[in-house]
């Protein structure tokens, strides 16, 4: 694929819109990061295809978060009901029950307001709304603390302030962790300060305080963890599903992005030729226009050859965020194109299983290497109609005994295989019998 910076072509062509300069530093940083990553993988960073891929991957951040948030709200409600019941039971023992009562009132009003806002504006929470919720929760905690101060026994009297910790559960699904974590920390510190100042610290009260602190801080922290893992899961599944569409691709494909590139190059060529034809660009051409023509010709030529070389496997690996990072493919004979959809599916599934969580232990060394071919080596017979393509996996990712039945049944779908372990590297050689004249 071409490594020529894309902007060399459109430069100086009439009618081209130039992307406006980034307005904020964050925007510039994100734009730079994204384009750098894509260029490192040889993918175009600005084409419509790249954009559509990015858009497809984007909902992953919020996909399913709404339902998860509803579940968290159920937890909050259960805790609130338990807390109110507990508070009412203790009503008589408190000397100032109206402060915690006011705290609970404020809490319920805030909960109803958030509920109405979610029903009206959908499952999202803006920054100012989050800040407002935090302020309200701080008021709740303060009112509760004022009310239970005279008892000097925080462990057995705190109710609404504990509920404030649980109120962070649904918020953890809607706001990024870097905003929720400080809120949890502030709440934890407030509890520690309150506990130490209001209640005499003895060996009798300390265990209860530790438990209380855990009851307030642990649930929202676990919620952050679960939401993080959930998003990872969604991203990964989305990546897998998008890559899976390659299974149906023809023997040689140009890929989602190349088609856009070709359209863009054609358009640039059309504009240049138009400019030459109607005399906007006088002949003989200026050096600038001539170099534009030269780079256009080079890229067009490369793109026209491209589709005839690259198989679905190449596209699958380069388009995937997870596999692209950790899988390397050697397929000099473009043999992957011969595989039937079922075999392709097996190959992809096996790769997903072997990659595991895709963590690269040594930078530069792929987690899984796949080699297809060469055809006709010993033990891999070739007939007029079919050939036995050796597919060799070298996996450093998931250890052999951790590979589940899914991985082995995926390998079986490719064909009969043998496996061995050498120096902690799993070697699998599959005999993949394919038609020599694929119809796809």
């Amino acid at each position: 694929m071409s490594r020529v910076p894309e902007d060399t072509i459109s430069r100086g062509l009439p009618g081209d819109t130039v992307q406006p300069a980034p307005r904020t530093r964050r925007e510039a940083r994100e734009r730079y990061r994204g384009s750098e990553r894509r260029q490192a993988r040889g993918l175009p960073s600005t084409s419509t295809g790249a954009r559509s891929l990015r858009q497809a991957a984007k909902p992953g951040a919020s996909l399913g978060a709404g339902y998860l948030g509803l579940g968290a709200a159920v937890l909050t409600a259960i805790e609130a009901v338990a807390g109110i019941a507990f508070f009412l039971i203790r009503w008589d023992t408190l000397s100032q029950p109206w402060f915690p009562a006011a705290a609970w009132g404020l809490y319920l009003v805030a909960a109803v307001a958030v509920g109405i806002s979610v029903l009206t504006y959908g499952e999202r929470l803006t920054g100012p709304a989050f800040a407002l919720i935090c302020v309200v929760l701080a008021c709740v905690v303060c009112l509760d603390f004022i009310g239970i101060w005279p008892e000097h026994d925080i462990v057995h009297t705190a109710t609404a302030s504990i509920a404030a910790g649980y109120a962070l559960l649904p918020i953890a699904t809607l706001r990024p962790a870097r905003e929720v974590a400080p809120a949890i920390a502030v709440l934890g510190v407030a509890f520690i300060v309150m506990a130490v100042t209001s209640t005499p610290v003895t060996t009798d009260t300390l265990p209860g305080m530790v438990t209380l602190l855990a009851l307030v801080v642990v649930p929202p922290s676990v919620a952050l963890f679960v939401v993080h893992r959930f998003r990872q899961l969604v991203q990964r599944e989305l990546d897998r599903v998008l890559v899976q569409s390659n299974v149906q691709a023809p023997q040689f494909a140009v890929g989602m992005l190349a088609s856009d590139e070709l359209a863009r190059l054609d358009l640039a060529a059309e504009k240049l030729l138009d400019a030459v034809a109607n005399g906007t660009d006088p002949l003989p051409l200026s050096d600038a226009s001539a170099s534009v023509a030269a780079s256009l010709a080079t890229e067009l030529r490369l793109h026209l050859i491209e589709g005839r070389r690259e198989t679905w496997l190449y596209h699958a690996i380069t388009e995937s965020d997870h596999l692209g990072r950790s899988v390397s493919v050697a397929d000099p004979g473009s043999l992957a194109g011969h595989l039937s959809p079922a075999q392709r599916d097996g190959l992809l599934q096996a790769l997903w299983q072997m990659v595991g969580d895709g963590r690269v232990s040594q930078p530069g060394v792929p987690v899984v290497s796949v080699t297809l071919g060469p055809v006709g080596s010993a033990g891999h017979p070739v007939t007029d109609e079919t050939m036995d393509v050796p597919i060799v996996f070298e996996s450093r990712g998931v250890p052999r005994r951790s590979l589940g039945p899914t991985a082995w049944s995926a390998l079986e779908r490719i064909g009969p295989y043998t496996h061995s372990v050498r120096d902690g590297v799993l070697h699998v050689v599959a005999h993949c019998v394919v038609s020599r004249h694929p119809t796809m």
């Binding site: 209860g208 899961l233 989305l238 359209a263």
Partner: protein, 385 residues
């Protein structure tokens, strides 16, 4: 679905592990702070908690029912040692310290018992035993420790149900995105094939662009303009969705016929090179019918050879001899130019190999190149009929 179910189980298991270990550790801190437990039961309980944490780690990996049993047994053992091993006076204090263990620690396996009825039954039984024990130790069923334990058990049950339910929902959305993506891929593939399929068109565009890259020097301005206008018009047609159907593309016939006569197309190749300043003399067959894909490849290869003559040979004339029999059609492109040493041209060079040899091989033909410095160049092109 199979894979996402596997991912869901992994998510639930790792949540189990995090909740279980965190709660057990919080309890350890509380118990040690209380200074109320005699040494022997304390050491025993800490050992039990260590076993429980180890079992939780292993449970996070495999999810086997044995690890559930070990987690529950070790947790209950620690609970029993702590609550039965102390005096009546400090028992309520210890009870408040073991709440995280009794609640989060013992309840955590509840989250990952999908498809393990025995594990689920064991966990629920352990939960009942835990609540009864804590109620006895805390001095009644309505005390703070008991309500804390019951509350956390309920919360963890809700978490387990909710996570398992939200994953199939999100999976359905992901699959619908995947379907849309597959449709988009097919559409973009078709579009790319349509554009790539317009190879004759691209070939003339490329030839024109290459001329322009040398600022259009060596070609009359008028001819250059005409060529550019014609190519731009064709590209516009392609962009607007039509496969260009003009009678003449300036040079080639682009009509998609099953078989095209070679003769009239050769004439247009001749005209095109005439405009660029290379006189092409034809010898031999005038009319040969070829399947359109073979004709494409043959003409493109021929045009490429003539372009090489025009650019590199340093002469103004080339001879093309075309002969055919029942199976093949052959063209011999000869010039009396400077020639070159074949070995000196790297085989990696895209030009000849890609544009001539590979194009012909794709349709079952072949090309051979003969040249020596000072004695011109001859290319023999072969294509099946």
């Amino acid at each position: 679905m199979e894979l996402i179910a596997q991912e869901r189980d992994r998510l639930l298991r790792s949540t189990t592990r995090v909740v279980g270990i965190l709660c057990a550790l919080v309890s350890v801190v509380g118990i040690v702070c209380s200074l109320a437990v005699p040494t022997a039961p304390l050491v025993g309980a800490l050992l039990c908690i260590a076993v429980m944490i180890g079992a939780l780690v292993l449970f996070g990996r495999s999810g086997a029912v044995w690890w559930t049993a070990l987690v529950l047994a070790a947790g209950l053992g620690a609970l029993a040692l702590l609550l039965f091993g102390v005096d009546d006076t400090v028992r309520p204090v210890v009870a408040s310290a073991v709440v995280p263990l009794a609640a989060g620690g013992l309840a955590s396996p509840l989250m990952a018992q999908r498809g393990h009825p025995i594990g689920l039954a064991l966990t629920i039984a352990a939960g009942v035993v835990t609540i009864v024990t804590v109620a006895w130790a805390g001095g009644g069923p309505l005390t703070t420790p008991v309500s804390g334990v019951v509350l956390v058990w309920v919360l963890i049950a809700v978490v387990a149900v909710w996570i398992s339910r939200s994953i199939p929902r999100v999976a359905r959305r992901i699959y619908s995105i995947g379907n849309a993506h597959r449709a988009e891929r097919q559409a973009s593939e078709t579009e790319a094939q349509r554009r790539q399929g317009a190879r004759l068109l691209h070939d003339t565009v490329l030839a024109t662009l290459t001329l322009l890259a040398h600022s259009g020097v060596g070609v009359s301005e008028q001819a250059m303009r005409e060529q550019a206008a014609e190519d731009a018009r064709l590209l516009r047609h392609l962009r607007l969705g039509a496969t260009p159907q003009p009678q003449q593309s300036g040079d080639y016939s682009l009509t998609r016929q099953e078989e095209s006569p070679l003769g009239q197309t050769l004439e247009s190749v001749k005209q095109r090179f005439g405009r660029m300043g290379l006189e092409v003399s034809w010898h031999g067959t005038g009319q040969v019918l070829l399947p359109s894909n073979v004709l494409d490849a043959f003409l493109l290869a021929l045009g490429e050879c003539l372009e090489n003559v025009r650019r590199h040979a340093g002469v103004g004339e080339a001879h093309v001899t075309i002969v055919h029999d029942d199976e093949t059609v052959r063209a011999m492109v000869t010039d009396s130019g400077v020639g070159f040493e074949i070995g000196e041209v790297s085989a990696e060079r895209l030009g000849f190999k890609e544009s001539v040899v590979n194009r012909l091989r794709e349709v079952g033909g072949d090309a051979k190149l003969f040249s020596a410095p000072g004695s011109g160049t001859t290319v023999v092109l072969e294509a099946p009929r």
